[in-house]
């Protein structure tokens, strides 16, 4: 049996030893130290506390007090060290400089033309349009004749069409054949969008590409009128180009619609000056789409009763809209696929 004085000396030595070890411990050895000194079974301070019963009852309180103080002191040191280590863990390496760049993976992005198509589909989707698709290789009938465009009319020339060497097929020059295919396979009411690639015999230059995206829209139902065309497209234009946008409808000619219209928008933006006053800035009129009431000949060609049903259709070029939107001056930059260009369309 140790006497009280010996035990007190031992406790002091244990404390000093423990505090020194704790000060330099890492998180793994810290746990070992906790067990070594304070562990219920093997802990050395715990053993002394357990042995108190064998002491002279007069010395017991003093030694007990000392042992509890040492236990508390070591526990506190352990906790403090654990806390410090935990903090050090969340502080990054790199000399503790939190201003160094963060770590991330590669950032992907959709193509700017896809982004425009997505947005158009979302906006029209809110107005009840679903998406439809059709083949890119078509026949004269779907691309022209069913769309009220006789092959010997100059209008068939205006879209310089690419034909296949098989002599019977062509690459669709617009997405309008999808109108015919939808009308052939579905009963009105019809509210569809047809985004897709179209092809023309155009040489590459700043404003032309031989293949480009187009987005077609078609509504056919009983009682659809020119007023509905205007309402739908004006609403779309304001949602897409901003609430203050002015919309203008001009007569035009497309063989598959009558009456036909070009739709122009003018963006009007309110600009807040540094002094708090506001002024409005008007853009130029921008031609953004062609539209019109579906020609009865188109409905009839697809087997729809044109006396009972009327409708409207519209078409636009997502690439052109992407160019207007981002002030891109050369359409070729949309096809070069330079990653320095494409990566700008990711999240920012």
């Amino acid at each position: 049996m140790s006497d009280a004085a010996t035990l007190e000396g031992e406790l002091e030595a244990l404390e000093a030893q423990a505090l020194e070890a704790v000060a330099t411990a890492d998180s793994e050895s810290l746990e070992e130290l906790r067990v070594r000194y304070l562990g219920r079974k093997e802990g050395r301070v715990s053993a002394i506390l357990r042995g108190l019963g064998g002491l002279d009852p007069a010395a017991r309180p003093r030694v007990g007090q000392a042992a509890n103080r040492v236990k508390g002191s070591i526990a506190k040191a352990l906790d403090a060290r654990a806390q410090a280590l935990a903090e050090a863990d969340v502080r990054p390496s790199g000399h503790g400089d939190l201003s160094l760049p963060g770590r991330s993976g590669w950032r992907g992005a959709r193509h700017p033309v896809t982004l425009v198509i997505d947005e158009l589909c979302t906006l029209f989707g809110e107005m009840g349009f679903s998406r439809a698709r059709g083949p890119e290789i078509e026949t004269d009938w779907y691309n022209f004749e069913a769309l009220n465009t006789p092959l010997d009319h100059p209008a068939a020339d205006e879209q310089d069409t690419l034909y296949l060497a098989d002599g019977t097929h062509l690459l669709r020059s617009h997405t309008s054949p999808v109108q015919v295919r939808v009308l052939q396979t579905h009963e009105p009411p019809i509210r569809v969008l047809a985004p897709g690639m179209v092809f023309r015999r155009d040489t590459w230059d700043a404003t032309h590409a031989p293949a480009f995206a187009q987005l077609e829209g078609l509504v056919v139902d009983e009682g659809v009128t020119f007023v509905d065309l205007k309402a739908t497209l004006a609403e779309f234009a304001r949602r897409f180009w901003g609430p203050g946008t002015e919309v203008r409808f001009r007569p035009s000619f497309f063989p598959f619609t009558e009456p036909s219209a070009e739709v122009d928008v003018k963006r009007v933006r309110t600009i807040r000056e540094p002094d708090g006053s506001t002024r409005t800035e008007e853009g130029d009129w921008l031609e953004i789409m062609g539209a019109g009431m579906v020609d009865p000949a188109v409905l009839e060609a697809a087997g729809i009763d044109s006396e009972r049903y009327t409708g409207f259709a519209f078409g636009m070029g997502p690439a052109r809209i992407a160019m207007l939107r981002h002030a891109i001056t050369d359409i070729r930059s949309l096809y070069e696929n330079d990653i320095r260009f494409l990566s700008q369309f990711g999240p920012s």
Partner: protein, 818 residues
């Protein structure tokens, strides 16, 4: 179409003077004005001058010293032009004037002689190409005086509008048509202005006409006309004018043509061009002396027949073309161009004037076959006014008599297989409302249509019988065509845009388009950039050929997306972009299964990657992309596409045996296998040399998958609720023969792991010291869990033993250290 504002206002004096207002009106009617050009603006400050005297320069052989009257006193001008003559009128730039090229005229001395101003050539004025001498000005009506602004002398006080005329409106390829289209209420009327210098117009006198059928009638007129193909040429008017003097046109006629950018030729040709631009009817003048046999035959050309056209080119005709012939053969390609042999020249005395109606389609075919588009063919292939032929011929006769002299000989011939009458189209006002959405009462409809020449012949309840003028007979044949006119004249902007209720449609959102969205989302999430390429590729990359390509080298349609993407990657690398990760979703094309079938299309997704696996970061070493990165991307894609396709078991990305891989263009390392074992995609490393890459380039990784066109309907994947009881994990180090695929081992583990085996993962792969030669160690972690209870060690041990025994038996796999 170039339009002269002065010309329009000569036809309709009530039209506004402001060209912007005219442009606004035409635009609002559907004919945008692309340009408004004030003619000769760059000639401001330049005048007409008369050269009074010309003398030799004392110190220079090639220079002359002239006294020039430019309206502000006579000045001395030194001039180098060989053609300067005393008494001549020339364009003159006085001191201080600025030439169109921007040069300002100063006072100079040339070889010691003072020169105050400059006499100008065509080139210096930007009016022509003749740099050989001064531009001599002709003063046919004696109106010149020194100091007259050059713009006025050249008739350039005009504004030229460039109007975009849509292909359905041939009537607007004329000043009369455009004047009619842009007149508004209160602008008065319009009429053909009198021909200057003609006292007794033939058109007023009411000339004698000889009406014949398609067969020629001999002896009653100076020419007989025979229509051998009445379908293609239903009507042909001919007139003979004798005793003309061919020469330059008077100033008014030249000015009129120049104002719209046409080049004056001679008075006869200019007269026919004037009528073309005024009324839209092409005419042709033949030298009557060169027309043999006194008869005109309109017939199909015979095979191999030739004609040298006015442009000096020898053309070979064929039976699909219509020719205007004399007794010997073709004199003109009908509706396209005349022949050189019967061309009107300075020697021509007698004219045969043609004013005909040709069927548009064949003219278009001929124009395309000959590759020869003319002002005439452009109008004929769109359709000229079948009721306006006589007016046009008489107008041409009047102008020719005024500018070239001569007399009409005998009756004018009007040969026709049938003569058109105005068509009547019924129009229901109820239908106007049904289509346009606003109610327009019948009288208002009538008032809207009248200014364009439509007359309501009869009205019964809500049905109007509308008579269509000849010049609109091509584009207005149906009720809906009239409704468009009503809408156009009413003004699109006056329609309300009130929102109304709509019914949901019957077409469901296209599933493949949705899958495309998911595929894009997945690849964007994995850090790839979406590319878009045109579908045209070289022969090596496509099998479906385009007949009339933009680029002969790339006239095939791609049969896969990865190779074209590879070229975009090479393009990026050539520009120093090292970490390139591109993907594309698009259509690929396969050859038709049988001749005449539609070549099948499929939607693919492909990607191409090069460079580092992760962006550079100071905290970690750079890591280059490897097969596991590629496989990971393919696995992610397989999950998305497989789920869409209704896969009962997940699709797998499996290694491709080498002998199979070699059979393909870019040998794949991996293929995507669906649950039936079918290949849905492939991926690998691009073989060296397949792409044109810089020397520093590393491995290029690619993948390509086809997307199923439609999902299997009705399958909803079951969801397992997460178990509440704890899991038990066991790690095994399996020593496996090196040529044994890890997937075989993992499959076997899954197969024998029992019902509670939830997951099997590989957490380490090792080969080398400590394990036998020819083997490697796979460290796998097995996770067991039961939904309803805590598993006891014994049953887990049992399952592990079962697995280990099976592995040992099947693949000779041992437990490391065991």
């Amino acid at each position: 179409m170039n339009v002269s504002l002065r010309w329009l206002r000569d036809l309709a004096p009530g039209l506004p003077e402001d060209p912007e207002e005219i442009a606004r009106r035409l635009t609002a009617r559907g004919f945008p004005v692309e340009g408004v050009e004030r003619l000769g603006a760059e000639l401001d400050g330049l005048v007409v001058a008369r050269v009074q005297e010309v003398s030799e320069h004392p110190d220079a052989d090639r220079l002359k010293v002239c006294s020039v009257d430019g309206g502000e006193g006579v000045v001395q001008v030194v001039c180098g032009a060989p053609n300067v003559e005393a008494g001549g009128w020339y364009p003159f730039a006085p001191v201080g004037a600025v030439l169109p090229g921007g040069m300002e005229i100063g006072e100079v001395r040339l070889r010691g002689q003072e020169s105050r101003g400059m006499l100008c050539s065509e080139v210096e004025l930007g009016l022509g190409e003749d740099a050989g001498g001064l531009m001599a000005l002709h003063d046919p009506d004696g109106s010149f005086r020194p100091g007259l602004p050059l713009r006025r002398a050249l008739g350039l006080q005009d504004v030229r509008l460039d109007v975009e005329v849509t292909s359905n409106r041939p009537d607007l390829l004329s000043h009369v048509g455009l004047a009619r289209e842009c007149m508004e209420e209160g602008d008065g009327t319009f009429a053909l202005p009198p021909v200057p210098g003609l006292d007794a117009p033939v058109s007023q006198a009411g000339p004698e006409w000889l009406e014949t059928g398609p067969e020629p009638v001999e002896g009653k007129a100076p020419v007989a006309v025979q229509l051998e193909d009445p379908d293609r040429c239903p009507r042909y008017l001919a007139g003979v004018i004798r005793g003309v003097t061919v020469g330059p046109s008077p100033a008014w006629l030249q000015q009129r043509l120049r104002a719209v950018g046409a080049r004056p030729v001679n008075n006869v040709v200019d007269a026919t061009n004037l009528v073309l631009l005024e009324l839209g009817q092409p005419l042709h003048a033949f030298d009557l002396a060169r027309v043999r046999g006194g008869a005109v035959r309109v017939r199909r050309a015979t095979d191999g027949e030739t004609l040298r056209t006015l442009d000096g080119v020898d053309r070979t005709l064929d039976p699909d073309m219509l020719a205007i012939c004399d007794a010997r053969g073709p004199m003109a390609v009908a509706g396209v161009m005349g022949g050189e042999d019967s061309e009107v020249t300075a020697e021509t005395r007698d004219l045969l004037l043609e004013c005909a109606l040709f069927e548009p389609g064949p003219i278009r075919a001929t124009r395309k076959a000959l590759g020869l588009s003319t002002d005439a063919s452009y109008r004929f292939e769109r359709g000229v006014d079948p009721l306006g032929l006589r007016t046009a011929l008489l107008r041409a006769v009047d102008v020719i008599l005024a500018v070239a002299g001569g007399e009409v000989d005998g009756p004018l011939v009007d040969a026709a297989a049938h003569r058109a009458v105005p068509a009547t189209v019924p129009l229901r006002t109820s239908r106007v409302e049904a289509l346009l959405g606003i109610s327009i009462p019948a009288p208002d409809v009538e008032a809207l249509l009248a200014p364009l020449g439509f007359r309501v012949a009869e009205r019964e309840d809500d049905v109007l019988q509308v008579s269509v003028p000849g010049y609109r007979s091509w584009d207005v044949t149906r009720e809906v065509d009239l409704i468009e006119e009503v809408a156009r004249v009413h003004g699109y902007d006056r329609f309300p845009d009130t929102r109304r209720a709509w019914r949901p449609g019957t077409v469901p959102d296209d599933p493949l388009t949705r899958l495309e969205d998911q595929v894009r989302d997945t690849l964007v999430r994995l850090g790839l950039l979406e590319a878009r390429t045109a579908a045209f590729v070289p022969r090596s990359q496509g099998e479906v050929e385009v007949a009339n390509p933009v680029n002969m080298e790339e006239r095939w349609l791609r049969s896969a997306l990865a190779p074209p993407l590879g070229r975009r990657l090479a393009w990026n690398l050539a520009r120093g972009n090292r970490d390139v990760r591109l993907f594309e979703v698009g259509t690929v094309f396969r050859p038709a299964p049988a001749p005449g079938d539609r070549p099948p299309e499929a939607t693919h997704v492909a990607g191409i990657l090069h460079g580092r696996a992760e962006p550079e970061h100071w905290s970690r070493p750079d890591r280059t992309l490897d097969a596991w990165d590629l496989k990971g991307i393919m696995e992610e894609l397989s999950l998305v596409v497989g789920a869409f396709d209704g896969a009962t078991n997940p699709w797998r990305v499996a290694p491709v045996p080498e002998d199979e891989a070699r059979a393909r263009g870019w040998p794949p390392l991996y293929s995507v296998l669906d649950d039936a074992g079918g290949t849905r995609g492939v991926g690998g490393v691009v073989p060296p040399g397949a792409l044109d890459l810089p020397r520093w380039a590393g491995s290029v990784w690619w993948f390509e998958m086809s997307l199923p066109p439609a999902p299997e309907p009705g399958r909803v994947p079951p969801v397992r609720m997460p178990p509440t009881h704890p899991a038990v994990e066991r790690d095994l180090a399996l020593v496996v023969a090196r040529d044994r695929a890890a997937s075989d081992v993992l499959d076997a583990v899954r197969d024998r792991g029992g019902p509670h085996l939830q997951e099997v993962g590989v957490f380490d792969v090792y080969q080398g010291e400590g394990i036998p030669e020819g083997t490697r160690s796979l460290a796998v972690r097995l996770r067991f869990q039961a939904p309803d209870r805590t598993l006891v060690d014994a049953e887990v041990d049992q399952a592990v033993t079962r697995v280990v025994n099976h592995l040992q038996e099947a693949y000779d796999v041992h437990i490391r250290g065991g």
